[in-house]
């Protein structure tokens, strides 16, 4: 529990700096420090248990189906890293308080820093590898924010993006590798996987998993050839660089390699991949570092070099090498964080980080100089400083490791790398601080405030203390951590300053003396470097990225060019190809179902349909004509349903056909009446070809379906319709009872569509839309008699009749064809006819029912029907029925489903009215003539016949 809390504390506490921002920088820094300290205490509360040999675990399932659990564990390794992350984090928070200028937001930096810290702690304490991946990705994201903190600087943004691309890309490989690992191990818990090393190594998928996981680790830890992102990430503020590149982010890769070491290291591939990569990285990065003039760039490449060193040690796959690696991680974190902060101090005080412009600072800032000397001596591997000890252990291991049968290759190259490393350490310290005092520093330097020196001083003290008394200070930590990595008892070893005259001592001496010589003839070495035309990794990266961007852009421009017909064409052609591929991939036999013989009426209907469709192709540019053809197709569809035993569908189809035609007619009033001929002959043929292919495919599919027998689940519905649902019209019973929930969802969707239509048109009468509308109005040729008297009279007489029909259709719906949908459409058509015949204004004034209310009431009533059945303890929307005796009508049944159908009815009326009336309302603006008062007009309630003209003019005033 406390482990999970320790991980979550930085995440939860990330808001603390933002909240305390107004209280001043000191309070903000203190509060942020308190968050980190809390996490550190929570983690360290497990130290006694862990150091007595226990492994603390805590777990809750998260998504058990995929093996993801929210599980944490702390052993020596996890605790070691968590301590480093949080301990150095505290120092960085203190340092950043004084480093960041008042122009920059301190709280934002702290916010990012805490997010990053939480993600790092999550990585090192996760027990579940999927959870670990989540935190791994979080570090990539939060480090992107940190590196790009100075977002106004292009280098900063580019560095951040490069770090994200490289580590994020590696993260993808890691995900794949981890999934394979979890699959072959049969568990996603690290504690389990570590037990099953033998099984994992014998799997044929072992090598792919290893390579993918190493790809993730190498990109994160900036190993060759992915080393180039780290120096560019130095565009970040120095506290960020010090944190990310000494103790945390880049160590995540090392952590992962150490964590899975027992599983991977016994394999040959591990040694052959990891050790050479580490060695090459160590050597190349040291060589580049030597010639960097920017202090931070020098430190960045030296970090890469030291990461390579640690990687190589892990790659040696011996327990002694692991001990050296763990010890070096600890030592590197101390001296490198100190050096980064010193570089930040120099930058802060002199205004430059360029070694060529520095020198002589010893006199001006003696304390900083002393602290830097201590840390640099450790980096060079000078005795009495901690770097010497772990470097000597490394040399000792390297001295007896052979690769490919050559015993001298590794010792030679390692000594060379150590030599260069000593040289750049000398250069860093001596060129910056020694020499004559200059008078051309951009700023007048002096020692910084105590808050900036204190973190460096703490680390420098550690450097010396570990350097002189290694066993007493770091012994327990190194032992417990190495034990956790190796997973079995360690061989005998001594952390001590003096091991006697060993090969390692000789190599150390060569490195220190040779390094001094190399630094002494720096200029000659620099000439040598220029002989080798060095390839800048950044330009390769940039070329790759811009190549990818160009490729993506041309692919997008070819397909995603804003042309709707192209999108539709691509989708349709893909569907046809996939369908055809599936068809030709499988054997096909003709169907065996008995075919119904064709009849004359059916053939006649087919001929009419074909004529309509072909006419549509030729005359679709005349939009009114195309509308008439389409409604003809709809009528044939209604006949089709009638023929094939679906009277309900036929009723619905014919009503919807009418409503759709009215809708499109209304729409046609507002858009151009014809479509221009724009496509070339070739374009028309291509469209025709795609259309024919799709049509043929659908027809073939339909034919294949219809000529085969099938098993239906409808027997249940047919059997239960009467006894269970109380109705003989099975279709209606399915709609309102068996599948009532679906219908409920559908009327809600309809309601949403209608309200969207309302919203889209409600404000269409202003701005550009109003101007277009005005143009239409002036262009349009209008009928002399817009509202013919016969039509007006007929629709008004028919209106009550239509309502009676609707009531009849509704009531009988449960047993005979009919129901809420159809009767709702009938009522809506009857109402719409009034709008058409007498004009929008006339009808709108008399329409007392608000369509919004109708939709709302419909959905509400349908929902309440369901809730009522819940109250009786039945599932939602369970229906019941009873028989009622009425005089004259006789016995008839009342089902609770009828209330539900009433909801459907109301919603349908509301939806149709809202959409059509809303379009008519826009159109009413384009009506040139008000409706003349008709002889049948009934006076309105306030006693006067309001003429459309007056209401129109008042509406005109409003707008």
């Amino acid at each position: 529990m406390l482990l999970a809390l320790a991980t979550l504390t930085p995440f939860l506490g990330a808001v603390v700096p933002l909240l305390t921002d107004r209280l001043g920088r000191d309070i903000c820094a203190l509060a942020t420090g308190a968050v980190t300290l809390t996490a550190l205490i929570l983690v360290m509360s497990h130290a006694p248990a862990v150091y007595s040999g226990e492994v603390v675990t805590w777990s809750v399932p998260w998504v058990p189906a995929i093996g993801l659990s929210f599980s944490f564990f702390a052993d020596g390794l996890g605790l070691f890293f968590a301590g480093l992350i949080l301990g150095i984090g505290l120092l960085i928070i203190l340092y950043a308080r004084y480093y960041l200028s008042s122009k920059d937001s301190l709280s934002l930096l702290y916010f990012y820093l805490l997010l990053f810290q939480g993600a790092m702690v999550g990585i090192v304490l996760s027990d579940n590898i999927l959870l670990l991946i989540v935190f791994w990705e979080l570090t990539s994201l939060s480090s992107f924010l940190l590196i790009g903190y100075w977002r106004h600087l292009p280098e900063s943004r580019q560095g951040a993006r490069m770090a994200l691309v490289v580590t994020g890309g590696g993260g993808l490989a890691l995900i794949a590798g981890m999934l394979i690992l979890g699959h072959i191990a049969g568990s996603y818990e690290i504690t389990e996987i570590l037990q099953r090393g033998e099984a994992v190594r014998s799997s044929p998928l072992f090598l792919p998993a290893l390579c993918l996981i190493l790809l993730g680790a190498f990109t994160k830890s900036a190993q060759f050839p992915f080393h180039f992102w780290l120096p560019h990430a130095m565009a970040a503020p120095t506290p960020v660089s010090a944190y990310l590149h000494s103790a945390t982010m880049v160590k995540a890769g090392l952590f992962l390699m150490a964590r899975l070491w027992p599983v991977f290291s016994p394999s040959e591939a591990w040694f052959l991949i990891v050790a050479p990569v580490g060695l090459i990285t160590m050597l190349i990065a040291a060589w580049i570092a030597l010639f960097r003039n920017d202090l931070k760039a020098l430190l960045a490449y030296s970090t890469v070099s030291h990461l390579g060193l640690t990687t190589m040690l892990l790659g040696f796959a011996t327990p002694m090498a692991v001990i050296a690696a763990v010890f070096h991680i600890l030592n590197h974190a101390t001296f490198k964080a100190a050096l980064f902060m010193s570089a930040g101090i120099v930058d802060h005080e002199t205004g430059t980080r360029d070694i060529r412009r520095l020198g002589g600072l010893m006199m001006l800032m003696p304390i900083t100089a002393t602290l830097t000397f201590i840390a640099a001596a450790s980096m060079a591997g000078v005795p009495f400083f901690n770097g010497f000890l772990s470097k000597e252990m490394m040399l000792e291991e390297a001295s007896h490791t052979a690769i490919g049968g050559h015993p001298w290759v590794i010792p030679f190259l390692v000594t060379l790398a150590a030599l260069i490393s000593a040289a750049y350490s000398y250069r860093l310290a001596i060129s910056t601080f020694l020499g004559p005092v200059r008078d051309d520093y951009p700023k007048k330097p002096h020692d910084p405030p105590i808050g900036m020196r204190l973190p460096v001083a703490i680390l420098a003290v550690l450097v010396i203390a570990i350097g002189i008394f290694p066993a007493q200070t770091a012994g327990a930590i190194v032992e417990r951590t190495a034990l956790a990595v190796v997973g079995e008892p360690l061989p005998k070893y001594y952390l001590a300053l003096w091991h006697g005259f060993t090969p390692a001592l000789l190599m150390s001496v060569i490195a220190l003396v040779g390094g001094a010589l190399l630094f002494w003839c720096y200029n000659a070495a620099n000439q040598l470097r220029l002989v080798f035309a060095s390839m800048d990794a950044k330009s390769v990266f940039d070329a790759t990225i811009s190549g990818l961007v160009r490729g993506a852009r041309s692919a997008i421009e070819a397909t995603h060019n804003g042309s709707f017909s192209r999108y539709a064409g691509i989708i349709l052609v893909t569907i046809v190809i996939v369908g055809a591929a599936a068809f030709f991939d499988a054997p096909y036999g003709a169907g065996t179902r008995q075919v119904i013989p064709g009849t004359f009426p059916a053939t006649a209907a087919w001929v009419v349909l074909g004529a309509l469709c072909i006419s549509l192709l030729f005359w679709h540019q005349n939009r009114l004509l195309s509308l008439i053809f389409t409604s003809g197709v709809g009528l044939i569809a209604a006949l089709f349903f009638l023929q094939f035993s679906a009277p309900d569908l036929s009723l619905t189809q014919i009503s919807v056909d009418i409503v759709t035609t009215i809708l499109l007619l209304l729409a046609l009033n507002l858009v151009p009446q014809t479509s221009p001929q724009e496509t070339s002959t070739g374009g028309r043929f291509a469209r025709g070809f795609v259309a024919s292919a799709v049509g043929f495919g659908v027809a073939a599919l339909a034919y294949a379906v219809m000529t085969r027998d099938f098993q239906s689940i409808s027997d249940y519905h047919l059997a239960e319709s009467k006894p269970g649902g109380g109705g003989t019209n099975v279709v209606n019973v399915i709609l309102v009872d068996f599948r009532g929930f679906d219908t409920y969802g559908e009327i809600i969707v309809l309601g949403i569509a209608a309200i969207t239509i309302f919203a889209l048109l409600d404000n269409a009468l202003r701005g550009a839309a109003a101007r277009t509308l005005a143009n239409i109005r002036s262009d349009r040729v209008q009928s002399v008699n817009a509202h013919p008297l016969i039509l007006v009279v007929a629709t008004r007489v028919l209106f009550p009749l239509a309502l009676v029909v609707a009531a009849f259709v509704f009531l009988r719906g449960h047993n005979e064809p009919g129901g809420g949908f159809v009767s709702g459409l009938v009522v809506a058509i009857a109402l719409i006819m009034q709008y058409i015949a007498s004009g929008y204004n006339w009808a709108a004034e008399r329409m007392r029912l608000d369509s919004h209310v109708l939709i709302g009431a419909g959905v509400l009533i349908a929902g309440l029907t369901g809730v009522v059945s819940l109250m009786f303890g039945w599932p939602f929307l369970t229906s019941t029925y009873t028989y009622v005796e009425l005089p004259l009508v006789g016995e008839f049944e009342v089902a609770s489903a009828m209330a539900f159908d009433l909801g459907v009815f109301l919603a349908v009326v509301g939806v149709v009215m809202l959409s059509l009336a809303q379009i008519s309302r826009v159109e009413a603006r384009a009506e040139p003539e008000a409706v003349p008062e008709g002889p049948m007009d009934v006076p309105l309630e306030d006693g006067q016949v309001v003429s459309s003209r007056s209401s129109r003019s008042s509406e005109g005033k409003e707008s």
Binding site: D542, G562, S563, F564, S565, V595, I596, G598, T599, T603, W606, L609, G610, L616, H620, S626, T630, V633, Q643, F644, S645, A646, P647, Q653, L664, L668, V671, P672, S675, T679, R687, G688, A691, V694, G695, F696, V698, A699, A700, L701, A702, Y703, S712, I713, H717, S721, V731, I734, R739, L750, T756, I757, L760, A764, T772, P817, V908, S915, I919, V922
Partner: protein, 117 residues
């Protein structure tokens, strides 16, 4: 009869697709309407063709499959809702831009963004 129905579905689909591939909004809406007729009938035929056996309980031996009918009934109403929504989008687009082209104008695409170099 099956062949007649299947080819009719194919005809409606082809005409609908041809109209959808046009460049103005109104033909596209009409094409969608046609296509939804075709698809509704196609879905309906998954219950196979049955004559004179409506699924209304009368004591007969067999009935047409009521389930596709129920699904298609709501599909018909929903396709009306969809058509209405699209036609209103088309109207609003025309009123706003004074053109009823379905394509995105060239200058609506964002400019090149900063690349890695």
């Amino acid at each position: 009869m099956e062949l007649i129905v299947a080819s009719a579905i194919g005809l409606m689909t082809a005409a609908g697709v041809y109209l959808i591939l046009q460049q103005r909004t109104f033909p596209i809406v009409v094409g969608l309407t046609l296509l939804s007729y075709a698809i509704n009938i196609f879905l309906f035929t998954s219950g196979r063709l049955v004559i004179n056996e409506p699924p209304i309980i009368t004591g007969a031996n067999s009935y047409a499959d009521p389930l596709p009918q129920a699904l298609v009934l709501t599909a018909i109403v929903i396709s009306f809702g969809m058509t209405a929504l699209i036609v209103v989008l088309a109207i609003r687009g025309f009123l706003e831009t004074a053109t009823d082209r379905a394509d995105l104008p060239e200058d609506d695409f964002p400019d090149e963004t900063e690349t890695g170099s």
